[in-house]
Symmetry: C2
Subunit: 202 residues, 2 copies
């Protein structure tokens, strides 16, 4: 039988190449147990491979951590773009959809806050390769928020954006200590009130 194009896949459980399995496994372990709590050997084994293959794809554990965060940032960007397509020319609907999404996310008992923010806590070294990924992600997040608030016609878009930013950031970190039933559970309502309050003062 002639070899077909490798694109064909019998089922959904195609075995990904080792690099993908390593990143996917590392993502789950890093997020659930913390970055410093997970060793490279455990990652390689859980990914169905070994340490040597891991180090053939990543120069160091720190680089794997950076890649882990880079993927999350990319996924977040995709999510934002999806919001924009779902509510075209309706920035306020985008804002509310985002609030609702974070509220749902926070209510998941398996969630442990923003992986990027957690990484910032675990890696205080300013020259860690992950630091710039974290900072750029948060800047992008804030800029996205500011843009939406401005498009909504708020008088002080930066102020509302920062309020929402802190609210969301606080909700995700708070869910780790007070649980999903804590203050974070009413996030959507709080955000709506904030937006309405700013719209009233136009």
């Amino acid at each position: 039988m002639k070899s077909a194009h490798p694109i064909e896949s019998k089922d959904e459980t195609v075995r990904q190449p080792p690099r993908e399995r390593i990143v996917a496994t590392a993502s789950e372990l890093f997020y659930r147990h913390g970055i410093r709590a997970v060793g490279v050997e455990a990652i390689a084994e859980a990914a169905g491979t070994n340490k040597m293959t891991l180090y053939r794809h990543f120069a160091s554990k720190d680089e794997l951590v950076a890649e882990y965060l880079r993927r999350l940032a990319a996924e977040a960007a995709v999510f934002w773009d999806g919001l924009e397509k779902a509510h075209p020319d309706d920035p306020r609907a985008q804002l509310r959809a985002w609030l609702k999404s974070v509220e749902d996310h926070v209510s998941d008992p398996g969630q442990r806050g923003c992986a990027l923010a957690n990484a910032a806590v675990e890696l205080p070294d300013k020259d860690h390769p992950a630091r710039c990924v974290i900072e750029q992600f948060k800047i992008a997040q804030r800029d996205r928020l500011i843009g939406l608030c401005r498009a909504t016609g708020i008088a002080e878009p930066d102020l509302l954006a920062d309020e929402l930013f802190l609210l969301l950031e606080g909700a995700r970190v708070c869910a780790q200590s007070l649980g999903p039933q804590g203050p974070a559970s009413r996030l959507s309502r709080m955000g709506d009130a904030l937006i309405a309050s700013h719209l009233a003062t136009v």
Copy 2:
């Protein structure tokens, strides 16, 4: 010369007993570098003592971590009591003073967020001796806020309290990724606006 009471101290640089030095040193190192990043040997050496003495006072590193957090929670309680004495029968002034205090705290470039919240990120294990300290601290913090909001005469004190809680929690974690000049710098103004907004809807 007869031995005087040991209470007399020639100057401010009295050498504290080893246990105090260990806790103080551990507090600084844990906060600055993260709990998992600091070894017991480094703590003992920086405290001017040794590992054996450390383990004569603390059953394990985890217990030292718990004590570190317990002290911070106690300090926070003292601070709250001070606010109450500084502004007796004026809950709104207490709220504003607290907001201002956190804003100042966040603007300190050496700050790295709430030590309790950071510990929750670093220690996800539910049976870690530090977890209950963290949870009780956050519950107390929230209850204190709710009490102040209720005393202020807010229609929905729980809602405002949770909004302020998330705002403050978000400000401290956000300062770690976006720096002291980020959204957290306008915390006081945001909180005042929130309070005013709730007072208007009485």
